[in-house]
């Protein structure tokens, strides 16, 4: 994106003003630095990733390696993909496979990789008024909540978590509604606080719940796959570069450098080592002896199918 700005400056004939942006390249004095030095990479990602602090922990390594800065913008999954679709970011990290696939099918994203995963958990008050503790199936637990009309707090903000919640209701064959079902339109932290104050159930990603557990009285009632819960509560994160064929101003080189770095064994170890309140938040899955080919393309795509 810096390159773009510099080109524009030149174009309007005030190149000298650009001394602050990417000066190391203009001067060419810093020969040890890679050519991308001084540029910045715009990453749009989801609030649940950003709010755990993981990116702040691991990014300095990448920034130092290339002499660049990463501008991480936390948005909802929908907004993060929309920014990328408009060409306002270079790389996008989200957790909603269906939306990611649509993004790729429409040609906006390329070179998708599975990055890491954690899981969702169903949390609620310790008193557990609907009695869902120990239920092995997430859909069954939701059905029980709906039948008991026990209060349930929904994010209601088209985030990845909200999308997952709606998918779960659909899988349970329930169209939630009524006084017991509240859409808050807020972030995960706020939703947890609201659920806490109202003694309600909610669906949370494990990372946010762990980071807030000390301040609230909610407890995990249905575990996700990390703690041997149902697979349906898995929460996989993917990363994609914005297609330079669609947006020629996208900083594709640096985006690919970033994807290469974050899927490297070193960065994957750093993700694995990241802890909050003594618990691991994310489980890397980019490095594998036996890569899953489906991570590169929309799910279910094959060269035989008439996908176009």
């Amino acid at each position: 994106m810096t390159i773009q700005r510099r080109d524009f400056m030149k174009a309007i004939g005030v190149g000298a003003v650009a001394s602050t942006a990417g000066c190391s390249q203009l001067g060419g004095s810093d020969a040890d630095r890679p050519d991308v030095a001084g540029e910045s990479l715009t990453l749009t990602t989801t609030t649940s990733t950003y709010d755990t602090g993981l990116l702040d922990e691991i990014h300095p390594d990448f920034e130092e390696m290339y002499g660049v800065t990463v501008d991480a913008v936390a948005q909802g999954t929908g907004a993060a993909l929309e920014s990328a679709r408009n060409g306002d970011s270079d790389v996008v990290m989200v957790h909603a496979r269906g939306l990611e696939d649509e993004f790729m099918r429409n040609g906006y994203g390329v070179n998708r990789r599975d990055l890491m995963f954690n899981d969702f958990v169903i949390v609620g008050p310790e008193s557990d008024p609907a009695g869902i503790q120990g239920t092995a199936s997430a859909t069954e637990a939701l059905t029980t909540i709906a039948e008991a009309e026990a209060p349930f707090v929904s994010r209601g903000d088209n985030s990845g978590t909200h999308t997952k919640e709606l998918n779960l209701w659909e899988a349970a064959g329930i169209d939630p509604g009524g006084d017991w079902y509240q859409e808050t339109g807020s972030g995960m932290g706020e939703a947890l606080n609201i659920a806490n104050q109202q003694g309600a159930y909610t669906l949370s990603d494990r990372g946010t719940f762990i980071s807030q557990r000390s301040e609230i009285d909610l407890t995990i009632l249905v575990q996700g796959p990390i703690e041997d819960g149902p697979e349906i509560l898995a929460n996989p994160y993917g990363i994609m570069a914005v297609n330079p064929g669609v947006h020629d101003n996208a900083n594709y080189d640096l985006a690919m450098a970033y994807i290469g770095w974050i899927t490297s064994p070193g960065a994957q170890d750093a993700i694995s080592d990241y802890q909050m309140n003594g618990e691991q938040l994310f489980f890397p899955e980019a490095v594998s002896e036996d890569p899953d080919f489906q991570q590169y393309v929309p799910e279910g795509w094959s060269s035989d199918s008439s996908d176009q």
Binding site: T47, V70, A74, Q75, M188, G189
Partner: protein, 238 residues
């Protein structure tokens, strides 16, 4: 969220903020809002003078647009600026999305209506006799305008403060066009106090959000005091 004042004190001493986080956030807040309000004042006061001194067809329409603009929701302004500066928008090639420049643009749009409207009220409140006096003593149109600005300076200062208050306290537009970015080391790039508060609240960190809120209120108070003092000094020395 109950919060004992005593419980707040250790929170202030032992904040979970990284070094440079709060100061850089304050800097970005002030840089964006002060720049936006300065530009807005340079634009609004001449507009108010023209509106106050001259009659032209459509003047009432302009006034009602300004009055409507005072109540314009900041998120709507944020969306409009986003469409303008986004890669697909008319200013896309300037690459302004997620920069302080884009935030300045949206705060300019937000601050201009109140600054213009309050300045206009102050300027039309200046006695016509004083305008005549400036003219008859040999003043040019510009001299008359300067006299009116000086006479209306308290009202204009109020206008600037109202605009500044609106700019520095709004969260909707700067969040959308700025992206609430910090570096990995916690140095703000486009994070303001308001978006930082929004972030803390989103994470349920209400205590740190309140500390940032207190800093924001203190900042507004300091700026108010400076502007009021500046106005007084002007009056003494004129």
């Amino acid at each position: 969220m109950p919060l004992e004042p005593i419980a707040l004190l250790p929170a202030v001493v032992d904040l979970p903020f990284r070094e440079g986080y709060v100061s850089s956030t304050i800097y970005v807040s002030l840089y964006v809002s002060v720049t936006a309000v300065t530009l807005s004042t340079l634009f609004s006061v001449p507009v108010a003078i023209v509106l106050g001194f001259t009659d032209f067809p459509g003047k009432q329409l302009v006034k009602s647009i300004i009055n409507t603009g005072m109540g314009f929701p900041s998120v709507v302004v944020g969306l409009l600026v986003l469409f303008t500066v986004s890669n697909q928008g008319p200013l896309g090639p300037l690459d302004l999305i997620f920069t302080t420049e884009a935030m300045i643009m949206s705060q300019f749009v937000l601050a201009t209506p109140p600054i213009t409207a309050i300045s206009l009220a102050a300027i039309t409140g200046v006695s016509e006799n004083v305008r005549d006096a400036a003219r008859v003593l040999g003043g040019t149109r510009l001299d008359v305008a300067l006299v009116v600005i000086k006479e209306a300076r308290y009202g204009i200062a109020t206008a600037v403060l109202a605009g500044f208050g609106r700019a520095i306290s709004e969260v909707g537009s700067v969040l959308i066009v700025g992206g609430n970015i910090t570096s990995a080391e916690g140095i703000s790039k486009t994070r303001t106090l308001t978006t930082a508060i929004q972030l803390e609240a989103r994470q349920g960190q209400y205590e740190t959000a309140m500390v940032l809120g207190a800093i924001l209120v203190a900042l507004v108070l300091v700026v108010n005091a400076i502007v009021v003092r500046f106005g007084d000094t002007e009056a003494v020395n004129r």
